[in-house]
Symmetry: C3
Amino acid sequence: MATSSAFIHTNILDAEQFLREDLSCILETARQIQQLYTLAPDKLYQVLQGRVLASLFFESSTRTRLSFETAMNRLGGRVISTVGFQFSSISKGETLYDTMKMVEAYSDIAVIRHPVEGSSRIASAAIQIPVINAGDGSGQHPTQALLDLYTIQQERGQIDGIRIAFIGDLKFGRTIHSLMKLLYNYEVEMVFISPVDLALPESYRKELGQRGITFAESEDLKEIWDCDVAYITRIQKERFTEQSDYERLKDSYSINRAFLQASRRNTLIMHPLPRVNELSTDVDDLPNAAYFRMASYSVLVRMALLTLCLKAELPVI
Amino acid sequence: MATSSAFIHTNILDAEQFLREDLSCILETARQIQQLYTLAPDKLYQVLQGRVLASLFFESSTRTRLSFETAMNRLGGRVISTVGFQFSSISKGETLYDTMKMVEAYSDIAVIRHPVEGSSRIASAAIQIPVINAGDGSGQHPTQALLDLYTIQQERGQIDGIRIAFIGDLKFGRTIHSLMKLLYNYEVEMVFISPVDLALPESYRKELGQRGITFAESEDLKEIWDCDVAYITRIQKERFTEQSDYERLKDSYSINRAFLQASRRNTLIMHPLPRVNELSTDVDDLPNAAYFRMASYSVLVRMALLTLCLKAELPVI
Amino acid sequence: MATSSAFIHTNILDAEQFLREDLSCILETARQIQQLYTLAPDKLYQVLQGRVLASLFFESSTRTRLSFETAMNRLGGRVISTVGFQFSSISKGETLYDTMKMVEAYSDIAVIRHPVEGSSRIASAAIQIPVINAGDGSGQHPTQALLDLYTIQQERGQIDGIRIAFIGDLKFGRTIHSLMKLLYNYEVEMVFISPVDLALPESYRKELGQRGITFAESEDLKEIWDCDVAYITRIQKERFTEQSDYERLKDSYSINRAFLQASRRNTLIMHPLPRVNELSTDVDDLPNAAYFRMASYSVLVRMALLTLCLKAELPVI
């Protein structure tokens, strides 16, 4: 059984910090929790009893915040929570460093969402308790990437050997970049599908080359048909200088049920949500549409991370 | 002892869904909880341990939200909560359907307050976990009506046989319409007192006729003196096109202690709160002023609903 | 061992309500909790199990709110919480009295932060459950003063005999005024250092004289060098009619490491936080910089107050 003592990390700050064995430990812990949740929920409820999570959302992200808060509650821990402009001391000119010194005294572990890239690292450096990055600006969102990884493993049985397509905004898409970095630890092929304006940045192409990862780039959604996994993301209106470009692309990058049924690999459909037009609701009840199940996986993976970072032990059943 | 297994409902969406036996079950469960709260609060605290309530207030309603959150906490359950503009994914264009699929993965039961009529039914149709409507626009507010019913039973001993006056905005008053519908299951007489502009809509008059319920309409507050219960509601400024009409009515529909002491039936005074001018504070310490006690009843009734919808069992003492 | 039964107060409303023996009881209870937190956190977690704290912040104060919510959670209690404009019924015209009658029905104890002086007393008068003032306008902030007192005792070993400097806005500084009042119960000397425009009000000087407390006033920060404790506060921009006055003072009232090293008494540095320019970050790692440790003390003192006001007993170990 994977134990917290084998996990060397105290903070979850970015996707690069993990070796393959770290990822295996996280995925295995999440799997054990999934099992315990069915077999012995009462015991699971003792794991973090008496511990306090500071849920610090300097910008709003309901999906991520509630996922973490549920994870802490299901492990028996407690949550103190604050969102956006409620950070009154920040509005009085307090630095992130000072805020975190306060948080350190109040809680056992902190989750931080912040609009500025690198904030979670600054926050973590300020204090001794574990810090989990829940997305910092255009930076990373490692817990999203970890739940994506868990989804692939649960739905496809394994990660090695898959061919995965990334679709949408490859230029700014934080979740895609974080997941890519985790997948560097596995034997996978990647296909990048986007309009030219939102193509993968050169720095990432270079990384892929250096690691010898087989990849292809395309503007054609039909490439999905030859992939095991399609990871679809939103194309954000605010990324375009010309409104007309957005309107044109919005329609061309829209995936529906009829289109997917031409897949030759029964492609697993993933999406970090929220979705707008890029993924039709008629896909929802396809068995390989995984995006709603991902919300459940998100709680399990975050339960695993809270357990591991706090060096708590799971109950034996 | 009433048990959850006898209660066939999973969702609480509107007042029409209940038969008299359902209402009896809810009222009896609330009464048992009231007793347990005095005799064995520690046991009560185990009833929903490990369960998570999603408290989803798409519009703010502090009174209702805190009542539900206290109810869940007093049963040992946990709460994840979000209010108003914190629903960041909604602001990114997410549908209520997609939001609810997320909520389903995070929690065991959801309470939803929404500005649009019918939202709670849409929310409930999207997911498998129980949904409780905490008010949806000009639609229904069934848990308010249920606590009103519990109040009448506790304060008057029984519901059958009472003569109840509804006072104020009978045209738009959501709480009045929901309570009326519950009272269709009992032998009651109704008196409707309002300015002409805010009179009971024709559709409700027709319903009353079809069900053979004795009722009267009046503009005269003195009708209260012959009623067992007076259910007073706020007259909302924003309902009037002419400000002068509002100012005139605001004063004429104001009930005070001296007026009530002329009652021939020791009329029970109810109000869903908040109040403004329509109910004077000099009424507060009359023994038959029930409106502050209604806050306690609200927690008990919501504890009953959470228990029943989750098919949990109350402890035996 | 100090027991709750020896504590006669139910509400914490202002600094004047306490005799020296009350303060001893609070400080001793906080010290016991500090010990229990190390030796038997699981037992501590039972102290307020099943109790509900209403955390009512009519204005935002993240530091104080999260401190109280952590305190309640660490004692095993539950929290219902609301901040600022979420008080929807207030926006509909509800009085504080009516709001508190609701809160009384929902919770076992209430913490209230309000922009209007005297609000916590009004709130407390409305209801039977304990009320703790978490700051009301230009009025008092007694729990801040109590944690300041605990800090002095923990860091200096005792309170009697110290010479304490108050620096900054002595005219409007709520925390300074509250702490002064608590210190009236001890044998201390006070030094007041501020720009003339922000000097101690005449009423306080009179109080000091009547109580025979030795004190001095100065504009010179160097007075700190002869004090055991320096209590530094923010100079708020909004207090000045002339922006240029603020800019000039902002720089002159800024304390750094080099300045403090000239101290002849190894002066303990306290600050209620947040800080801006008045206290340099290069002071942070001096051993006598107590302001970050004050966050930990704040939780202990508030745990003590919740325990004492609710007449709960601490576990014996």
